[in-house]
């Protein structure tokens, strides 16, 4: 179900810090999200997933600086098309939440502790739809809470009166307040127990079928993405190393890192199995190796991998998998055995 591009991230680079102390956290990230698509973004902790979400929405907190690239949003409902990174503050503010809404990783702290839930749901509506009456806004807020399975009388609650899972669902409801075209979700379920996680993901899937928005779903749990996402991008040390459809990724992971990730998570379904994991730790972003950033941990690395950095390019099987890209010199190598218990749903 891939339509027109909604969000095109091109050569996006981000640094934290100034001058000599700066760390390059994102290096020339290219990623395209299509209308109606669920794009999964996976990678180990610290690889830059959240940074990518913040940078792509121009919400990067200091000392983060976007040092290059563009983020083009193309509306699917009218013919607006703009680069988020060069838009003026006022233009950007007018499109925020209307076009792109975000559920942040820290959904626990995403609610203002001194305002009631209702007020926090309605203030986005009043900022963007000033013509609506207070009554309409309140009804809409109640409807939103209902959508995520929270009774409407919770509108009068303060955040500290809600459980963690409820707060998370409030944030999801809030993201849908203006029916945005794109919702970015940064680990929206990580802090929850498995039952709650299931429940929220199910609600999310239902809402998406009903409202038809695109999703960028960020997690370090690839097995979850294989069930959930249409397409998956795998990040390693600030770069995309593989970008393929969920089933391609699962059947034939072409990057050794993807392969490692698939073996390091227990499947949500099926019997318990031995976890492979990836030996070693992610590189220090301050002093990256000269060649492939994954080479020091790679089981199949060659001399060439330690000297040259592979670019993210089409695979050798471009005729069979045209939209697939991988950053590895040895991607044609026979893929490792697929964990038998991981089943595509």
């Amino acid at each position: 179900m891939t339509g027109e591009p909604v969000l095109e991230i091109r050569n996006l680079s981000v640094e934290y810090g100034y001058d000599a102390d700066a760390v390059r956290v994102l290096r020339d990230v290219n990623l395209t999200l299509h209308a109606g698509e669920v794009l999964g973004l996976a990678g180990e902790s610290g690889c830059g997933k959240s940074t990518l979400a913040y940078a792509a929405t121009r919400l990067l907190p200091p000392p983060g600086i976007i040092t290059g690239g563009e983020v083009v949003f193309t509306s699917t409902r009218d013919d607006r098309r703009y680069d988020l990174l060069t838009a003026t503050d006022d233009e950007l503010r007018a499109t925020r939440w209307e076009d792109t809404a975000i559920v942040f990783q820290g959904a626990m702290n995403s609610l203002n502790p001194v305002y009631r839930i209702g007020r926090q749901l309605t203030d986005a509506i009043s900022a963007h739809r000033p013509e609506q009456s207070a009554r309409q806004r309140r009804d809409r807020a109640a409807e939103l809470l209902d959508m995520v399975g929270i009774p409407a009388d919770r509108l009068r609650s303060y955040p500290h009166q809600l459980s963690g899972g409820m707060r998370q669902r409030v944030m999801i409801a809030m993201a849908l307040a203006l029916e945005p075209q794109l919702v970015i979700m940064d680990e929206p379920t990580t802090a929850l127990d498995v039952v709650m996680q299931r429940q929220i993901l199910q609600q999310l899937a239902d809402l998406r079928t009903r409202l038809g928005f695109s999703v960028v779903f960020i997690t370090h749990d690839v097995s979850l993405l294989i069930e959930l996402a249409d397409r998956i991008a795998v990040m390693y040390a600030g770069e995309i190393v593989e970008d393929a459809t969920a089933s391609q990724m699962y059947r034939t992971p072409r990057h050794p890192y993807t392969d490692g990730l698939l073996h390091s998570f227990p499947p949500l379904h099926g019997p318990r199995q031995e976890l492979g994991g990836i030996p070693g730790a992610p590189p220090d972003l301050m002093s990256l190796p000269r060649g492939c950033t994954f080479a020091p941990r790679c089981r199949v690395a060659l001399d060439r991998c330690r000297d040259e950095r592979p670019a993210l390019t089409a695979t050798a099987f471009a005729d069979r998998e045209p939209h697939r890209r991988v950053a590895c010199f040895q991607h044609e190598r026979e893929a490792a055995a697929i964990p038998p218990s991981l089943t595509v749903m």
Binding site: L59, R96, W97, N109, S110, A127, Y158, H160, M171
Partner: protein, 326 residues
């Protein structure tokens, strides 16, 4: 509501403890200085007055401590704090009644002004951190480092002596009799401007710095980022999301400083010879006027308690989390 009731009970208990201490402490001190002062005033003090002083200072050895305590409460509740030695035979209560309004007006208003001004500037500087607004910080650091009496003396030297636009001392024109006439009120305001200015200058820096630092901390909270992401107008994010949360820790600081209005203004009133509580307390200490001192200490203790109570109420109003925890 239950939270407030519990706090109220706590304050009643504390007030009782403070008043009881005020009763016990003079009794534990060696009684000789008071006794000798009373002896010195012998003949000039009426017999009843001497008796009430004996009760206040626990020199009345014919009665049991318990009986003395009851008498002490009786005196207190009927507003009898004894007679001042230095301003004999004026009752201590009258002196407090005369000097308290001056202190409350001068120091109260300038403390509130300083808090409001400092908080607003702090919000603005904190929100614009990393821009030229940070240039204000060295100035505030400098101001908060100067001792207060120094600011007071310089203000007098510059604005009352070298360039005499303000009076150097007093609370009103000595030629006027305190009354509610426009002339007297005008004179009182005119006399208050310079001391008020020095109080604001010396305390505003602390509020600016405190608020600025809290703004910087709160600005990186997730809910502020969410407010930005929602495309709310910048002013609403700054005030409703950032400042609204950043001000919470400052509220208790403010309430405490309200408590020190009554007790902590000795220096201001001494430098400006201002007829408030601080100045009178200074006089009382100089004249070994024990009844007056005791009366002032009682008032100061109670005002600190009242300020704490206000802080609690403000907190309960501003922070929904306190309301529940109680």
């Amino acid at each position: 509501m239950r939270y407030l009731l519990r706090r109220a009970a706590f304050y009643l208990l504390t007030a009782w403890a403070a008043i009881t201490l005020n009763f016990l402490i003079p009794r534990m001190l060696p009684g000789d200085p008071v006794r000798s002062l009373i002896a010195r005033f012998q003949g000039r003090i009426s017999v009843e007055a001497t008796e009430s002083l004996y009760i206040l200072f626990g020199l009345d050895e014919q009665k049991s401590l318990w009986q003395q305590y009851l008498d002490y409460w009786g005196n207190l509740l009927s507003g009898n704090l004894g007679l001042s030695f230095a301003y004999f035979p004026t009752p201590v209560v009258d002196i407090i009644e005369q000097s308290l309004p001056w202190t409350l007006a001068l120091v109260g208003l300038s403390t509130i002004l300083s808090f409001v001004l400092g908080t607003m500037l702090g919000v603005w500087v904190g929100w614009r951190r990393g821009t030229w607004a940070d240039g204000l910080l060295p100035v505030t650091n400098f101001l908060s480092a100067i001792p207060y009496f120094w600011i007071g003396l310089i203000a007098i030297a510059v604005f009352a002596v070298a360039w005499p636009i303000f009076p150097a001392s007093g609370g009103f024109d000595p030629g006027l009799i305190p009354s509610a006439t426009p002339e007297f009120i005008g004179s009182a305001i005119y006399h208050g401007l310079l001391p008020a200015f020095t109080i604001v200058i010396s305390s505003v820096a602390g509020w600016i710095l405190g608020m600025r630092n809290m703004m910087v901390t709160v600005s990186s909270e997730d809910y502020v980022t969410v407010a930005h992401a929602k495309g709310l107008p910048e002013r609403r994010v700054m005030i409703g999301y950032a400042a609204r949360n950043a001000v919470l820790p400052n509220v208790s600081g403010f309430a405490l400083s309200l408590g020190f209005i009554v007790g902590g203004t000795l220096v201001t009133e001494m430098v400006f010879t201002y007829p408030g509580i601080g100045y009178m307390l200074f006089q009382a200490v100089g004249a070994k006027d024990y009844p007056l001192m005791q009366g002032f200490f009682l008032i100061i203790t109670l005002s600190v308690l009242v300020a704490n109570m206000l802080a609690d109420i403000a907190y309960a109003v501003l922070d929904p989390r306190t309301r529940q925890e109680g």
